[in-house]
Protein backbone atom coordinates (compact mmCIF):
# COMPACT_ATOMS: atom_id res chain seq x y z
CA UNK A 1 0.00 0.00 0.00
CA UNK A 2 1.57 3.31 -1.04
CA UNK A 3 0.78 6.60 0.62
CA UNK A 4 -1.42 9.36 -0.73
CA UNK A 5 -0.12 11.28 -3.67
CA UNK A 6 -1.07 14.76 -4.85
CA UNK A 7 -1.65 13.35 -8.31
CA UNK A 8 -4.43 11.19 -6.86
CA UNK A 9 -6.50 14.35 -6.43
CA UNK A 10 -7.04 14.34 -10.19
CA UNK A 11 -9.05 11.15 -9.76
CA UNK A 12 -11.52 13.11 -7.66
CA UNK A 13 -12.03 15.86 -10.24
CA UNK A 14 -15.85 15.47 -10.44
CA UNK A 15 -16.18 15.46 -6.65
CA UNK A 16 -13.84 18.44 -6.33
CA UNK A 17 -15.91 20.42 -8.83
CA UNK A 18 -19.07 19.77 -6.83
CA UNK A 19 -17.47 20.49 -3.44
CA UNK A 20 -15.88 23.75 -4.63
CA UNK A 21 -19.17 24.93 -6.08
CA UNK A 22 -20.95 24.02 -2.86
CA UNK A 23 -18.41 25.90 -0.74
CA UNK A 24 -18.62 28.92 -3.04
CA UNK A 25 -22.40 28.89 -2.68
CA UNK A 26 -22.16 28.66 1.12
CA UNK A 27 -19.64 31.50 1.29
CA UNK A 28 -21.80 33.69 -0.94
CA UNK A 29 -25.06 32.57 0.66
CA UNK A 30 -25.99 36.01 1.95
CA UNK A 31 -25.52 37.61 -1.44
CA UNK A 32 -27.47 35.01 -3.42
CA UNK A 33 -31.15 35.76 -2.94
CA UNK A 34 -32.46 34.62 -6.32
CA UNK A 35 -32.93 30.94 -7.04
CA UNK A 36 -32.03 31.07 -10.77
CA UNK A 37 -28.46 32.15 -10.01
CA UNK A 38 -27.78 29.34 -7.57
CA UNK A 39 -29.58 26.89 -9.85
CA UNK A 40 -27.56 27.94 -12.90
CA UNK A 41 -24.31 27.52 -10.98
CA UNK A 42 -25.39 24.09 -9.72
CA UNK A 43 -26.41 22.88 -13.17
CA UNK A 44 -23.10 24.08 -14.59
CA UNK A 45 -21.20 22.26 -11.85
CA UNK A 46 -23.23 19.09 -12.41
CA UNK A 47 -22.60 19.13 -16.16
CA UNK A 48 -18.89 19.80 -15.57
CA UNK A 49 -18.76 16.92 -13.09
CA UNK A 50 -20.47 14.58 -15.54
CA UNK A 51 -18.03 15.54 -18.30
CA UNK A 52 -15.08 15.18 -15.93
CA UNK A 53 -16.29 11.72 -14.89
CA UNK A 54 -16.54 10.62 -18.51
CA UNK A 55 -13.17 12.17 -19.33
CA UNK A 56 -11.42 10.44 -16.40
CA UNK A 57 -12.56 7.11 -17.78
CA UNK A 58 -10.60 7.63 -20.98
CA UNK A 59 -7.37 6.98 -19.06
CA UNK A 60 -8.51 3.49 -18.05
CA UNK A 61 -9.20 2.15 -14.55
CA UNK A 62 -7.09 3.58 -11.74
CA UNK A 63 -7.01 3.39 -7.99
CA UNK A 64 -5.72 6.06 -5.68
CA UNK A 65 -5.38 7.19 -2.06
CA UNK A 66 -3.71 3.98 -0.93
CA UNK A 67 -6.27 1.78 -2.66
CA UNK A 68 -9.34 3.48 -1.17
CA UNK A 69 -10.79 5.12 -4.27
CA UNK A 70 -11.14 3.61 -7.69
CA UNK A 71 -12.02 5.12 -11.02
CA UNK A 72 -13.43 2.53 -13.39
CA UNK A 73 -16.29 2.14 -15.83
CA UNK A 74 -18.66 1.08 -13.04
CA UNK A 75 -17.97 4.07 -10.79
CA UNK A 76 -17.92 6.60 -13.64
CA UNK A 77 -21.20 5.26 -15.01
CA UNK A 78 -22.88 5.94 -11.68
CA UNK A 79 -21.13 9.31 -11.31
CA UNK A 80 -22.46 10.49 -14.66
CA UNK A 81 -25.89 9.23 -13.65
CA UNK A 82 -25.79 11.01 -10.26
CA UNK A 83 -24.57 14.23 -11.89
CA UNK A 84 -27.39 14.08 -14.47
CA UNK A 85 -29.94 13.47 -11.73
CA UNK A 86 -28.51 16.44 -9.81
CA UNK A 87 -28.77 18.69 -12.88
CA UNK A 88 -32.37 17.66 -13.60
CA UNK A 89 -33.45 17.99 -9.95
CA UNK A 90 -31.90 21.47 -9.86
CA UNK A 91 -33.81 22.46 -12.99
CA UNK A 92 -37.01 21.06 -11.48
CA UNK A 93 -36.56 22.98 -8.24
CA UNK A 94 -36.47 26.36 -9.97
CA UNK A 95 -40.23 26.85 -9.68
CA UNK A 96 -40.81 24.68 -6.66
CA UNK A 97 -39.45 27.04 -4.08
CA UNK A 98 -41.68 29.95 -4.82
CA UNK A 99 -42.69 31.30 -1.40
CA UNK A 100 -44.75 28.50 0.04
CA UNK A 101 -47.84 29.26 2.02
CA UNK A 102 -47.97 27.22 5.20
CA UNK A 103 -50.81 24.76 5.32
CA UNK A 104 -53.61 26.56 7.24
CA UNK A 105 -55.01 23.32 8.68
CA UNK A 106 -51.90 22.19 10.45
CA UNK A 107 -49.86 25.33 10.91
CA UNK A 108 -50.20 26.90 14.35
CA UNK A 109 -47.51 29.50 14.92
CA UNK A 110 -46.38 29.19 18.52
CA UNK A 111 -43.90 32.00 18.53
CA UNK A 112 -44.87 35.42 17.18
CA UNK A 113 -41.17 36.07 16.50
CA UNK A 114 -40.99 33.47 13.76
CA UNK A 115 -41.89 35.11 10.50
CA UNK A 116 -42.03 33.14 7.35
CA UNK A 117 -38.36 32.27 6.81
CA UNK A 118 -36.63 33.73 3.81
CA UNK A 119 -36.02 31.37 0.90
CA UNK A 120 -32.47 30.10 1.11
CA UNK A 121 -31.52 29.12 -2.44
CA UNK A 122 -27.78 29.00 -1.82
CA UNK A 123 -28.00 26.61 1.13
CA UNK A 124 -30.47 24.37 -0.68
CA UNK A 125 -28.26 24.03 -3.72
CA UNK A 126 -25.10 23.63 -1.66
CA UNK A 127 -26.74 20.73 0.20
CA UNK A 128 -27.79 19.12 -3.08
CA UNK A 129 -24.21 19.42 -4.34
CA UNK A 130 -22.69 18.01 -1.17
CA UNK A 131 -25.16 15.11 -1.09
CA UNK A 132 -24.23 14.29 -4.70
CA UNK A 133 -20.54 14.42 -3.76
CA UNK A 134 -21.14 11.86 -1.03
CA UNK A 135 -23.01 9.63 -3.45
CA UNK A 136 -20.14 9.84 -5.95
CA UNK A 137 -17.69 8.83 -3.23
CA UNK A 138 -19.89 5.86 -2.38
CA UNK A 139 -19.87 4.85 -6.07
CA UNK A 140 -16.10 4.89 -6.28
CA UNK A 141 -15.32 3.49 -2.83
CA UNK A 142 -13.26 0.31 -2.65
CA UNK A 143 -12.77 0.63 1.08
CA UNK A 144 -15.47 0.32 3.72
CA UNK A 145 -14.27 3.57 5.32
CA UNK A 146 -14.84 5.59 2.15
CA UNK A 147 -18.13 3.79 1.59
CA UNK A 148 -19.30 4.81 5.06
CA UNK A 149 -18.06 8.41 4.74
CA UNK A 150 -19.65 8.85 1.32
CA UNK A 151 -23.00 7.42 2.36
CA UNK A 152 -23.03 9.47 5.58
CA UNK A 153 -22.23 12.70 3.72
CA UNK A 154 -25.09 11.94 1.35
CA UNK A 155 -27.62 11.01 4.04
CA UNK A 156 -26.73 13.84 6.45
CA UNK A 157 -27.35 16.33 3.65
CA UNK A 158 -30.55 14.50 2.69
CA UNK A 159 -31.94 14.75 6.24
CA UNK A 160 -31.54 18.52 6.09
CA UNK A 161 -32.95 18.71 2.55
CA UNK A 162 -36.08 16.83 3.65
CA UNK A 163 -36.56 19.18 6.59
CA UNK A 164 -35.47 22.39 4.85
CA UNK A 165 -38.98 23.84 4.78
CA UNK A 166 -38.88 24.31 8.56
CA UNK A 167 -42.23 26.08 8.72
CA UNK A 168 -44.09 23.02 7.39
CA UNK A 169 -44.98 20.49 10.12
CA UNK A 170 -45.12 17.61 7.63
CA UNK A 171 -41.62 18.45 6.45
CA UNK A 172 -40.33 18.42 10.05
CA UNK A 173 -42.02 15.13 10.71
CA UNK A 174 -40.63 13.58 7.54
CA UNK A 175 -37.15 14.79 8.50
CA UNK A 176 -37.25 13.34 12.01
CA UNK A 177 -38.58 9.99 10.83
CA UNK A 178 -36.00 9.82 8.07
CA UNK A 179 -33.25 10.89 10.46
CA UNK A 180 -34.05 8.40 13.24
CA UNK A 181 -34.42 5.44 10.88
CA UNK A 182 -31.42 6.53 8.86
CA UNK A 183 -29.13 6.81 11.86
CA UNK A 184 -30.30 3.43 13.07
CA UNK A 185 -29.53 1.91 9.67
CA UNK A 186 -26.12 3.59 9.64
CA UNK A 187 -25.38 2.03 13.03
CA UNK A 188 -26.32 -1.41 11.67
CA UNK A 189 -24.10 -0.83 8.63
CA UNK A 190 -21.24 0.20 10.91
CA UNK A 191 -21.62 -2.83 13.14
CA UNK A 192 -21.47 -4.96 10.01
CA UNK A 193 -18.32 -3.15 8.91
CA UNK A 194 -16.74 -3.65 12.34
CA UNK A 195 -17.52 -7.38 12.22
CA UNK A 196 -16.14 -7.67 8.69
CA UNK A 197 -13.00 -5.89 9.82
CA UNK A 198 -12.68 -8.21 12.80
CA UNK A 199 -13.15 -11.34 10.72
CA UNK A 200 -10.87 -10.38 7.84
CA UNK A 201 -8.52 -7.84 9.43
CA UNK A 202 -9.00 -5.30 6.67
CA UNK A 203 -11.42 -2.69 5.44
CA UNK A 204 -10.54 -2.59 1.76
CA UNK A 205 -12.57 -4.76 -0.56
CA UNK A 206 -9.67 -6.58 -2.21
CA UNK A 207 -8.18 -7.65 1.13
CA UNK A 208 -11.61 -8.72 2.43
CA UNK A 209 -12.17 -10.77 -0.71
CA UNK A 210 -8.78 -12.49 -0.45
CA UNK A 211 -9.32 -13.22 3.27
CA UNK A 212 -12.65 -14.77 2.34
CA UNK A 213 -11.32 -16.97 -0.42
CA UNK A 214 -8.42 -18.23 1.70
CA UNK A 215 -10.95 -19.37 4.32
CA UNK A 216 -13.47 -20.95 2.00
CA UNK A 217 -17.19 -20.13 1.97
CA UNK A 218 -19.43 -20.43 5.01
CA UNK A 219 -16.57 -21.05 7.42
CA UNK A 220 -17.19 -18.10 9.63
CA UNK A 221 -20.42 -17.31 11.41
CA UNK A 222 -19.28 -13.77 12.20
CA UNK A 223 -18.99 -13.08 8.48
CA UNK A 224 -22.58 -14.07 7.89
CA UNK A 225 -23.64 -11.59 10.57
CA UNK A 226 -21.46 -8.96 8.89
CA UNK A 227 -23.06 -9.61 5.50
CA UNK A 228 -26.55 -9.43 7.00
CA UNK A 229 -25.87 -6.15 8.79
CA UNK A 230 -24.17 -4.58 5.76
CA UNK A 231 -27.05 -5.62 3.52
CA UNK A 232 -29.52 -4.15 6.03
CA UNK A 233 -27.68 -0.84 6.18
CA UNK A 234 -27.47 -0.58 2.40
CA UNK A 235 -31.07 -1.72 1.93
CA UNK A 236 -32.10 1.36 3.89
CA UNK A 237 -30.27 3.63 1.45
CA UNK A 238 -32.12 2.20 -1.52
CA UNK A 239 -35.41 1.85 0.45
CA UNK A 240 -35.71 -1.90 -0.06
CA UNK A 241 -38.28 -3.93 1.86
CA UNK A 242 -37.60 -4.23 5.57
CA UNK A 243 -36.15 -0.72 5.64
CA UNK A 244 -38.56 1.02 3.29
CA UNK A 245 -40.85 2.61 5.89
CA UNK A 246 -39.15 5.98 5.76
CA UNK A 247 -39.56 6.49 2.02
CA UNK A 248 -43.29 7.32 1.73
CA UNK A 249 -43.17 9.67 4.72
CA UNK A 250 -39.99 11.38 3.59
CA UNK A 251 -41.22 11.80 0.00
CA UNK A 252 -44.60 13.15 1.08
CA UNK A 253 -43.20 15.55 3.67
CA UNK A 254 -40.26 16.83 1.63
CA UNK A 255 -40.63 19.31 -1.18
CA UNK A 256 -41.19 17.47 -4.46
CA UNK A 257 -37.75 18.11 -6.01
CA UNK A 258 -36.09 16.76 -2.87
CA UNK A 259 -38.30 13.68 -3.06
CA UNK A 260 -37.25 13.26 -6.70
CA UNK A 261 -33.62 13.55 -5.66
CA UNK A 262 -34.04 10.90 -2.96
CA UNK A 263 -35.87 8.58 -5.33
CA UNK A 264 -33.23 8.79 -8.05
CA UNK A 265 -29.71 9.90 -7.14
CA UNK A 266 -29.79 8.46 -3.64
CA UNK A 267 -31.08 5.12 -4.90
CA UNK A 268 -28.49 4.98 -7.69
CA UNK A 269 -25.69 5.61 -5.19
CA UNK A 270 -26.99 2.98 -2.78
CA UNK A 271 -27.21 0.41 -5.58
CA UNK A 272 -23.71 1.31 -6.79
CA UNK A 273 -22.31 0.77 -3.30
CA UNK A 274 -24.30 -2.42 -2.74
CA UNK A 275 -23.24 -3.81 -6.10
CA UNK A 276 -19.56 -3.34 -5.44
CA UNK A 277 -19.78 -4.71 -1.90
CA UNK A 278 -21.59 -7.83 -3.15
CA UNK A 279 -19.61 -8.47 -6.31
CA UNK A 280 -16.12 -7.57 -5.11
CA UNK A 281 -15.80 -7.72 -1.33
CA UNK A 282 -18.13 -10.60 -0.56
CA UNK A 283 -17.91 -12.39 -3.91
CA UNK A 284 -16.79 -15.57 -2.14
CA UNK A 285 -20.10 -15.78 -0.28
CA UNK A 286 -22.11 -15.51 -3.49
CA UNK A 287 -24.58 -18.23 -2.46
CA UNK A 288 -25.59 -16.53 0.81
CA UNK A 289 -25.63 -13.11 -0.79
CA UNK A 290 -27.76 -14.23 -3.68
CA UNK A 291 -30.45 -15.63 -1.38
CA UNK A 292 -30.38 -12.50 0.83
CA UNK A 293 -30.68 -10.25 -2.23
CA UNK A 294 -33.39 -12.40 -3.78
CA UNK A 295 -35.39 -12.12 -0.55
CA UNK A 296 -34.93 -8.35 -0.35
CA UNK A 297 -35.84 -7.91 -4.01
CA UNK A 298 -38.89 -10.17 -3.98
CA UNK A 299 -40.34 -8.70 -0.78
CA UNK A 300 -39.69 -5.11 -1.94
CA UNK A 301 -41.57 -5.78 -5.16
CA UNK A 302 -44.51 -7.41 -3.36
CA UNK A 303 -44.80 -4.88 -0.53
CA UNK A 304 -44.35 -1.90 -2.84
CA UNK A 305 -47.02 -3.18 -5.23
CA UNK A 306 -49.59 -4.01 -2.55
CA UNK A 307 -49.18 -0.79 -0.62
CA UNK A 308 -49.40 1.30 -3.79
CA UNK A 309 -52.90 0.02 -4.57
CA UNK A 310 -54.60 2.14 -1.91
CA UNK A 311 -52.65 5.39 -2.22
CA UNK A 312 -54.39 8.69 -2.87
CA UNK A 313 -51.33 10.89 -2.61
CA UNK A 314 -49.21 11.07 -5.76
CA UNK A 315 -45.89 11.41 -3.93
CA UNK A 316 -46.64 8.43 -1.67
CA UNK A 317 -47.63 6.46 -4.77
CA UNK A 318 -44.30 7.32 -6.38
CA UNK A 319 -42.55 6.38 -3.13
CA UNK A 320 -44.06 2.88 -3.19
CA UNK A 321 -43.20 2.78 -6.88
CA UNK A 322 -39.59 3.56 -5.98
CA UNK A 323 -39.60 0.76 -3.37
CA UNK A 324 -40.82 -1.76 -5.93
CA UNK A 325 -38.33 -0.46 -8.50
CA UNK A 326 -35.52 -0.87 -5.96
CA UNK A 327 -36.58 -4.52 -5.82
CA UNK A 328 -36.51 -4.82 -9.60
CA UNK A 329 -33.08 -3.21 -9.75
CA UNK A 330 -31.77 -5.64 -7.11
CA UNK A 331 -32.81 -8.56 -9.31
CA UNK A 332 -29.73 -7.96 -11.44
CA UNK A 333 -27.40 -8.43 -8.48
CA UNK A 334 -29.06 -11.73 -7.49
CA UNK A 335 -27.18 -13.65 -10.13
CA UNK A 336 -23.87 -12.28 -8.82
CA UNK A 337 -22.35 -12.08 -12.30
CA UNK A 338 -21.00 -9.07 -14.21
CA UNK A 339 -23.86 -9.53 -16.72
CA UNK A 340 -26.34 -9.24 -13.87
CA UNK A 341 -24.63 -6.08 -12.65
CA UNK A 342 -24.89 -4.67 -16.18
CA UNK A 343 -28.61 -5.39 -16.14
CA UNK A 344 -28.96 -3.51 -12.86
CA UNK A 345 -26.94 -0.59 -14.23
CA UNK A 346 -29.16 -0.35 -17.31
CA UNK A 347 -32.23 -0.57 -15.07
CA UNK A 348 -31.05 2.16 -12.71
CA UNK A 349 -30.09 4.45 -15.59
CA UNK A 350 -33.48 4.25 -17.27
CA UNK A 351 -35.33 4.27 -13.93
CA UNK A 352 -33.67 7.56 -12.90
CA UNK A 353 -34.88 9.38 -16.00
CA UNK A 354 -38.43 8.06 -16.06
CA UNK A 355 -38.88 8.70 -12.33
CA UNK A 356 -37.49 12.21 -12.65
CA UNK A 357 -39.96 12.74 -15.49
CA UNK A 358 -42.91 11.61 -13.37
CA UNK A 359 -41.80 13.78 -10.45
CA UNK A 360 -41.27 16.62 -12.92
CA UNK A 361 -44.92 16.53 -13.96
CA UNK A 362 -45.95 16.46 -10.28
CA UNK A 363 -43.78 19.53 -9.70
CA UNK A 364 -45.12 21.27 -12.79
CA UNK A 365 -48.69 20.90 -11.54
CA UNK A 366 -47.79 22.42 -8.18
CA UNK A 367 -50.16 21.83 -5.26
CA UNK A 368 -52.62 20.18 -7.60
CA UNK A 369 -50.15 17.50 -8.64
CA UNK A 370 -49.73 16.10 -5.14
CA UNK A 371 -53.06 14.29 -4.84
CA UNK A 372 -54.37 11.76 -7.31
CA UNK A 373 -57.66 13.66 -7.69
CA UNK A 374 -55.71 16.63 -9.02
CA UNK A 375 -55.16 14.68 -12.23
CA UNK A 376 -58.85 14.57 -13.11
CA UNK A 377 -59.43 15.92 -16.58
CA UNK A 378 -55.85 17.03 -17.07
CA UNK A 379 -55.88 15.85 -20.69
CA UNK A 380 -58.66 18.28 -21.56
CA UNK A 381 -56.87 21.22 -19.97
CA UNK A 382 -53.22 20.52 -20.76
CA UNK A 383 -52.96 17.77 -23.37
CA UNK A 384 -49.17 18.05 -23.61
CA UNK A 385 -48.58 17.63 -19.88
CA UNK A 386 -51.03 14.74 -19.71
CA UNK A 387 -49.31 13.01 -22.63
CA UNK A 388 -45.93 13.39 -20.92
CA UNK A 389 -47.29 11.96 -17.68
CA UNK A 390 -48.80 9.06 -19.62
CA UNK A 391 -45.42 8.40 -21.25
CA UNK A 392 -43.65 8.27 -17.88
CA UNK A 393 -46.37 6.13 -16.31
CA UNK A 394 -46.28 3.64 -19.20
CA UNK A 395 -42.52 3.53 -18.87
CA UNK A 396 -42.68 2.93 -15.12
CA UNK A 397 -45.14 0.11 -15.78
CA UNK A 398 -42.79 -1.39 -18.33
CA UNK A 399 -44.86 -1.26 -21.50
CA UNK A 400 -43.00 -1.27 -24.82
CA UNK A 401 -41.73 0.76 -26.62
CA UNK A 402 -40.71 2.81 -23.59
CA UNK A 403 -37.48 2.64 -21.60
CA UNK A 404 -39.21 0.88 -18.73
CA UNK A 405 -39.76 -2.18 -20.90
CA UNK A 406 -36.08 -2.41 -21.81
CA UNK A 407 -35.16 -2.01 -18.15
CA UNK A 408 -37.53 -4.71 -16.88
CA UNK A 409 -36.60 -6.99 -19.77
CA UNK A 410 -32.88 -6.98 -18.99
CA UNK A 411 -33.22 -7.61 -15.26
CA UNK A 412 -35.81 -10.35 -15.66
CA UNK A 413 -33.67 -11.95 -18.36
CA UNK A 414 -30.70 -11.92 -16.00
CA UNK A 415 -32.55 -13.75 -13.21
CA UNK A 416 -34.02 -16.27 -15.64
CA UNK A 417 -30.46 -17.01 -16.76
CA UNK A 418 -29.46 -17.38 -13.11
CA UNK A 419 -32.22 -19.94 -12.67
CA UNK A 420 -34.56 -18.03 -10.35
CA UNK A 421 -37.73 -18.73 -12.29
CA UNK A 422 -40.09 -18.14 -9.36
CA UNK A 423 -38.64 -14.69 -8.82
CA UNK A 424 -39.03 -13.90 -12.52
CA UNK A 425 -42.69 -14.92 -12.45
CA UNK A 426 -43.24 -12.81 -9.34
CA UNK A 427 -41.61 -9.81 -11.04
CA UNK A 428 -43.86 -10.15 -14.07
CA UNK A 429 -47.04 -10.65 -12.01
CA UNK A 430 -46.29 -7.54 -9.95
CA UNK A 431 -45.80 -5.56 -13.18
CA UNK A 432 -49.46 -6.27 -13.87
CA UNK A 433 -50.38 -4.86 -10.45
CA UNK A 434 -48.38 -1.77 -11.33
CA UNK A 435 -50.20 -1.45 -14.64
CA UNK A 436 -53.41 -1.17 -12.63
CA UNK A 437 -51.91 1.42 -10.25
CA UNK A 438 -50.43 3.64 -12.94
CA UNK A 439 -53.27 3.34 -15.40
CA UNK A 440 -55.65 4.51 -12.66
CA UNK A 441 -53.89 7.88 -12.96
CA UNK A 442 -54.17 7.71 -16.75
CA UNK A 443 -57.91 7.06 -16.46
CA UNK A 444 -58.27 10.07 -14.16
CA UNK A 445 -56.39 12.23 -16.67
CA UNK A 446 -58.23 11.14 -19.80
CA UNK A 447 -61.71 9.98 -18.80
CA UNK A 448 -62.79 12.35 -16.03
CA UNK A 449 -64.15 15.87 -16.17
CA UNK A 450 -61.83 18.60 -14.86
CA UNK A 451 -62.60 19.55 -11.25
CA UNK A 452 -60.05 22.29 -10.78
CA UNK A 453 -58.95 25.28 -12.87
CA UNK A 454 -56.19 24.60 -15.34
CA UNK A 455 -52.70 24.79 -13.86
CA UNK A 456 -50.56 27.76 -14.82
CA UNK A 457 -47.81 27.29 -17.37
CA UNK A 458 -44.47 26.42 -15.90
CA UNK A 459 -40.96 27.71 -16.34
CA UNK A 460 -38.43 26.99 -19.07
CA UNK A 461 -36.23 25.12 -16.61
CA UNK A 462 -38.96 22.58 -15.82
CA UNK A 463 -39.73 22.20 -19.55
CA UNK A 464 -36.05 21.49 -20.23
CA UNK A 465 -35.82 18.86 -17.51
CA UNK A 466 -39.05 17.19 -18.68
CA UNK A 467 -37.83 17.20 -22.27
CA UNK A 468 -34.55 15.51 -21.32
CA UNK A 469 -36.34 12.90 -19.23
CA UNK A 470 -38.86 12.21 -22.01
CA UNK A 471 -36.10 11.95 -24.60
CA UNK A 472 -34.19 9.34 -22.60
CA UNK A 473 -37.40 7.45 -21.86
CA UNK A 474 -38.23 7.22 -25.56
CA UNK A 475 -34.71 6.59 -26.85
CA UNK A 476 -34.09 3.95 -24.16
CA UNK A 477 -37.18 2.14 -25.38
CA UNK A 478 -36.54 2.35 -29.10
CA UNK A 479 -32.81 1.63 -29.05
CA UNK A 480 -32.32 -0.75 -26.16
CA UNK A 481 -28.82 -1.57 -27.39
CA UNK A 482 -27.53 1.97 -27.16
CA UNK A 483 -26.71 1.65 -23.46
CA UNK A 484 -24.61 -1.46 -23.92
CA UNK A 485 -21.68 0.54 -25.22
CA UNK A 486 -21.62 2.48 -21.96
CA UNK A 487 -22.27 -0.34 -19.62
CA UNK A 488 -19.17 -2.23 -18.61
CA UNK A 489 -18.79 -4.79 -15.85
CA UNK A 490 -17.56 -3.56 -12.45
Amino acid sequence: MNGPNVKDLALLLPELILVCTALALILAARRIQKTPWAAALTVLAAVAAALASAWLLSGGSKTGFGGMITVDAYSQFFKVLIASALALVTLLSVTADRPSRPDPRTHRPKDPQTHRPKPRPAEYHALLLLASTGMMFAASAVDLLILYLGLELATLCSYILVGITVEKPTSNEAAIKYFLLGSFASALLLYGIALAYGATGATDYAAIASAFSSRGPGSHRILLAAIGLLAAGLAFKIAAFPFHAWAPDAYQGASTPVAAFLATASKAAGLAALGRVCLVAFAAEARVLSSVLAGLAGLSIIVGSIMALSQTDMKRLLAYSSIAHAGYALLGFVSGTPEGAEATMTYVFLYVFMTLGAFGVVIALGQRGESLNGYQGLAAQRPGTAALMLLFLLSLTGIPPTAGFTAKFVVILSIVRAGHLALAVLAVVCSVVWAFVYLRVAVLMYMKEPQEPAPSYFSVAVYTALAVAALVTIIGGIFPGSLATWVVSP
Binding site: L149, G163, N172, E173, F179
Partner: protein, 102 residues
Protein backbone atom coordinates in the same frame (compact mmCIF):
# COMPACT_ATOMS: atom_id res chain seq x y z
CA UNK B 1 -3.35 -6.96 32.56
CA UNK B 2 -4.79 -7.61 29.14
CA UNK B 3 -8.52 -8.10 28.88
CA UNK B 4 -9.34 -11.09 26.66
CA UNK B 5 -10.83 -10.31 23.24
CA UNK B 6 -14.03 -12.24 23.94
CA UNK B 7 -14.87 -10.13 26.98
CA UNK B 8 -14.54 -6.89 25.05
CA UNK B 9 -16.64 -8.27 22.20
CA UNK B 10 -19.31 -9.41 24.64
CA UNK B 11 -19.28 -5.97 26.25
CA UNK B 12 -19.75 -4.34 22.84
CA UNK B 13 -22.55 -6.75 21.98
CA UNK B 14 -24.37 -5.93 25.24
CA UNK B 15 -23.89 -2.21 24.61
CA UNK B 16 -25.32 -2.68 21.11
CA UNK B 17 -28.27 -4.63 22.49
CA UNK B 18 -29.04 -1.93 25.07
CA UNK B 19 -28.91 0.71 22.34
CA UNK B 20 -31.15 -1.41 20.10
CA UNK B 21 -33.76 -1.84 22.85
CA UNK B 22 -33.58 1.90 23.47
CA UNK B 23 -34.17 2.74 19.81
CA UNK B 24 -37.13 0.36 19.62
CA UNK B 25 -38.86 1.27 22.91
CA UNK B 26 -38.12 4.95 23.53
CA UNK B 27 -40.84 7.41 22.63
CA UNK B 28 -38.85 10.59 23.10
CA UNK B 29 -36.84 11.67 20.05
CA UNK B 30 -33.91 12.72 22.26
CA UNK B 31 -33.97 9.31 23.94
CA UNK B 32 -33.76 7.59 20.56
CA UNK B 33 -30.90 9.90 19.60
CA UNK B 34 -28.97 8.89 22.72
CA UNK B 35 -29.67 5.21 22.06
CA UNK B 36 -28.23 5.61 18.56
CA UNK B 37 -25.09 7.10 20.13
CA UNK B 38 -24.86 3.93 22.24
CA UNK B 39 -25.00 1.83 19.06
CA UNK B 40 -22.20 3.86 17.53
CA UNK B 41 -20.09 3.52 20.65
CA UNK B 42 -20.56 -0.23 20.59
CA UNK B 43 -19.19 -0.12 17.04
CA UNK B 44 -16.21 1.93 18.21
CA UNK B 45 -15.41 -0.54 20.99
CA UNK B 46 -15.57 -3.33 18.41
CA UNK B 47 -13.31 -1.54 15.95
CA UNK B 48 -10.64 -0.68 18.49
CA UNK B 49 -10.75 -4.15 20.01
CA UNK B 50 -10.41 -5.85 16.60
CA UNK B 51 -7.58 -3.51 15.69
CA UNK B 52 -5.45 -5.17 18.41
CA UNK B 53 -5.52 -8.53 16.65
CA UNK B 54 -5.65 -7.30 13.07
CA UNK B 55 -2.79 -7.23 10.57
CA UNK B 56 -3.80 -3.67 9.76
CA UNK B 57 -4.31 -2.09 13.21
CA UNK B 58 -4.40 1.50 11.93
CA UNK B 59 -7.46 0.86 9.78
CA UNK B 60 -9.69 0.09 12.76
CA UNK B 61 -8.46 2.91 14.95
CA UNK B 62 -8.74 5.42 12.13
CA UNK B 63 -12.23 4.17 11.43
CA UNK B 64 -13.21 4.73 15.06
CA UNK B 65 -12.07 8.36 14.84
CA UNK B 66 -14.18 8.90 11.74
CA UNK B 67 -17.17 7.31 13.46
CA UNK B 68 -16.78 9.66 16.45
CA UNK B 69 -16.55 12.70 14.16
CA UNK B 70 -19.55 11.68 12.08
CA UNK B 71 -21.57 10.85 15.21
CA UNK B 72 -21.05 14.44 16.31
CA UNK B 73 -22.17 15.73 12.91
CA UNK B 74 -25.22 13.47 12.94
CA UNK B 75 -26.12 14.59 16.47
CA UNK B 76 -25.95 18.22 15.33
CA UNK B 77 -28.26 17.55 12.39
CA UNK B 78 -30.59 15.46 14.55
CA UNK B 79 -30.88 18.05 17.30
CA UNK B 80 -31.53 20.76 14.70
CA UNK B 81 -34.41 18.69 13.32
CA UNK B 82 -35.74 18.09 16.86
CA UNK B 83 -35.67 21.84 17.57
CA UNK B 84 -37.48 22.52 14.29
CA UNK B 85 -40.19 20.01 15.08
CA UNK B 86 -40.60 21.34 18.62
CA UNK B 87 -41.18 24.83 17.17
CA UNK B 88 -44.04 23.71 14.93
CA UNK B 89 -45.57 20.91 16.99
CA UNK B 90 -44.56 21.66 20.60
CA UNK B 91 -43.67 18.02 21.24
CA UNK B 92 -40.79 15.64 20.63
CA UNK B 93 -42.71 12.46 21.49
CA UNK B 94 -42.55 10.26 18.42
CA UNK B 95 -45.98 8.71 19.06
CA UNK B 96 -47.58 12.16 18.91
CA UNK B 97 -45.87 13.03 15.63
CA UNK B 98 -48.12 11.31 13.12
CA UNK B 99 -49.37 13.58 10.38
CA UNK B 100 -48.00 11.23 7.74
CA UNK B 101 -49.49 7.75 7.65
CA UNK B 102 -49.50 4.83 5.28
Amino acid sequence: MIIPLEHVLLFSLILFAIGMVGVLTRRNAIGILISIELLLNAVNVNLVCFSRVSEDPMAGQMFAFFVIALAAAAAAVGLAIVVAIYRTRNTVQTDEIQLLKW
